[in-house]
């Protein structure tokens, strides 16, 4: 008689617990030096349960299948000259931001989870972190492969890792992840697996990727959904870790709460870039930032998740109310910042077309016409000597010491002004875009006084390819150091636009 197959639960148990052992000639403390200093107390790692019950065998099998599907779609798109069937080449500017800003974070996540997989004393979460580390590397790879096709035809895709370490707007995602990987393993996993994966990646990988599909970009939709299917496992890891830590010891509760407070705001500020991408950079739009915030954050996270966590003594993140108040301003503020500084960016921006302004006014009836439309009208008048018939902010902005975004977040209670906060710490002044970022600084000032702020670095002379020959040579030397070539300025003076028109000149479907 054939032996009965093991059940999923049995297989998982054998794989995780069965392969772990108690050390005899080395102390556990020496093996796991980072396990205690954050103050987290664990009584019994065996209480850990992973609902996905993933084993290596199943992992290889399903990940390989996900990859096969992705590469089949990518090949089809490439062979079929799929880039010509996009809704409009303007669309690709959101993908440039993605590839420059997010893909390097996938790689950092790969490193971060490798660290966690090495240093958590429990075999269950170590296994989950190990899988996630491999997932993140896979995400990096499929995103690079999807982008490399666009790189053959469009600007802005050629230098993502170099740019990620240097360019002003990319210091926002970079500093976010550097903040996380320089924390201990428990804070890291709360920051990334829980606060980012469970709460925020939905905004990036679900409605935005649906937008990619809607704009004809099947490779991006496929890598997005393929990555997000792994994220489902990552979300589960985040939720399980947090619940596990909360149940293990009551002393863990205030520590976890503080991390949730911090990482909600860090992640939310980072995700504001996605708001601008969704509302302004997709020529065909699926849903607004506000709608996706309501669905994925207010419904799923506040009504769903945080009610679930109440019984552990966890409340919603400290500055969540401000996020809700900002939801009709955020994407407009961020696109206006990106628009203003496009002379120094590796993507293009543009004045929204009239029908796009109407869409924005319809989706944001209390804010767009009142506070934002006039800026684009004025931008047509306020010309500069730079290419593109419109305004650029000829100067350098004030940056937030924590999130590093130019300090341009509207105060919902005084919508003609931005929130500005500052503190003095040990004789030096620090400025912040919000109470959230100020609060984060005050929790750990020693960490954020070291921030590499792109504007200050330019003023210290650290961002030039060669010393500028005069005032007019300053920006060109910075751009050269960034490796920005013909990637900047308004879309309608770009190589992308010129080529797009050329490629479509005989086609009835031309979109200009």
């Amino acid at each position: 008689m054939a032996k009965k197959k093991l059940t999923l639960a049995q297989k998982y148990h054998i794989y995780t617990r069965g392969l772990d052992w108690e050390p005899t000639y080395v102390s556990k403390k020496d093996i796991y030096p980072y396990a205690e200093y954050e103050g987290i107390k664990i009584k019994d790692w065996n209480k850990w349960e992973d609902p996905f019950r993933m084993t290596v065998e199943a992992y290889w099998k399903y990940q390989a299948e996900k990859d096969r599907r992705f590469y089949a779609i990518l090949d089809g798109f490439i062979q079929n000259q799929g880039h010509l069937t996009l809704s409009d080449a303007r669309y690709l500017n959101s993908i440039k931001l993605f590839i420059q800003g997010v893909t390097p974070l996938e790689y950092m996540a790969h490193r971060g989870f490798a660290f966690v997989a090495r240093h958590l004393p429990g075999p269950g979460p170590r296994t989950a972190a190990f899988f996630q580390s491999m997932d993140e590397l896979r995400h990096t790879q499929i995103e690079v492969h999807a982008a490399s096709n666009f790189n053959k035809y469009y600007d802005g895709f050629h230098s993502m890792t170099h740019m990620h370490d240097r360019v002003w707007y990319l210091s926002v995602p970079k500093s976010y992840f550097d903040d996380a990987v320089t924390a201990g393993p428990f804070e890291y996993i709360t920051a990334i697996s829980f606060s980012f994966e469970y709460a925020l990646t939905n905004l990036l990988f679900v409605p935005f990727m649906s937008g990619a599909a809607y704009n004809g970009d099947t490779p991006t939709m496929t890598f997005g959904f393929s990555a997000q299917s792994d994220e489902s496992r990552h979300m589960t890891l985040g939720l399980q870790v947090v619940k596990f830590l909360l149940e293990q010891h009551e002393d863990n509760v205030p520590i976890i709460q503080r991390w949730i407070d911090k990482w909600w705001w860090r992640g939310y500020r980072l995700t504001s870039l996605v708001g601008a991408m969704m509302d302004y950079m997709l020529p065909k739009r699926v849903m607004s930032w506000k709608e996706s915030f309501e669905l994925y954050i207010e419904d799923q996270i506040l009504e769903g998740l945080f009610r679930d966590l109440e019984r552990y003594g966890i409340r919603p993140p400290l500055h969540m109310n401000q996020s809700i108040k900002e939801k009709e301003f955020l994407s407009h503020d961020v696109y206006w910042i990106l628009f203003s500084f496009t002379f120094a960016a590796a993507f293009h921006s543009w004045i929204p077309k009239e029908e796009e302004m109407e869409w924005l006014a319809e989706k944001y009836p209390r804010t767009f016409n009142q506070y934002y439309r006039w800026r684009y009208e004025k931008a047509k008048e306020a010309k500069t000597p730079l290419p593109g018939d419109r305004f650029y902010y000829i100067g350098l902005p004030q940056l937030c010491q924590v999130c590093q975004i130019p300090m341009g977040f509207t105060n919902p209670d005084d919508p003609n002004n931005f929130v500005q906060r500052y503190v003095e710490y040990e004789g030096e002044i620090y400025h912040f875009c919000s109470d959230g970022c100020k609060w984060i600084f005050e929790q750990e000032p020693e960490k954020y006084v070291q921030a590499w702020l792109p504007v200050h670095e330019i003023y210290k002379g650290n961002c030039f390819a060669e010393p500028p020959k005069g005032p007019d040579d300053v920006v060109p030397q910075v751009l050269k150091w960034y490796n920005i070539q013909t990637d900047n300025f308004d879309y309608f003076v770009s190589e992308d636009y010129k080529n797009w028109k050329e490629w479509h000149k005989d086609m009835a479907t031309v979109v200009v």
Partner: protein, 100 residues
């Protein structure tokens, strides 16, 4: 800190890829979970239920016309809201307020 005030609704959800397999899983969910609502977006279905969602191997197999391992759910899921309260060889159950 005052409680966050929302006039929102509570549901469990799973976001499924709009593929042939995703469609079959969706049909199985509809059959086994009366009261399920679907929002359609480009590329994906958002499947919501006020209390819980159960995905049964047997029902999925009846729509697929072949055997189906519950771990194959990994290939169609994009995202979800809730907890995986149970995931074994026969079924997957998603709901809130399940604790270790």
């Amino acid at each position: 800190m005052t409680a966050v005030e929302t006039k929102r609704e509570r549901f469990v959800a799973v976001d499924l890829q709009k593929t042939e397999e995703g469609y079959n899983v969706l049909q199985a969910i509809l059959k086994d979970n009366p009261g399920t609502r679907i929002d359609e977006f480009p590329g994906y279905y958002k499947v919501k239920h006020p209390e819980k969602l159960i995905i049964k191997r047997e029902t999925v197999e009846s729509f697929m016309g072949r055997s189906w391992d519950t771990q194959e759910f990994n290939l169609v899921i994009i995202s979800y809201a809730g907890n995986f309260a149970e995931w074994d060889d026969e079924k997957i159950l998603i709901q809130w307020d399940t604790h270790m």
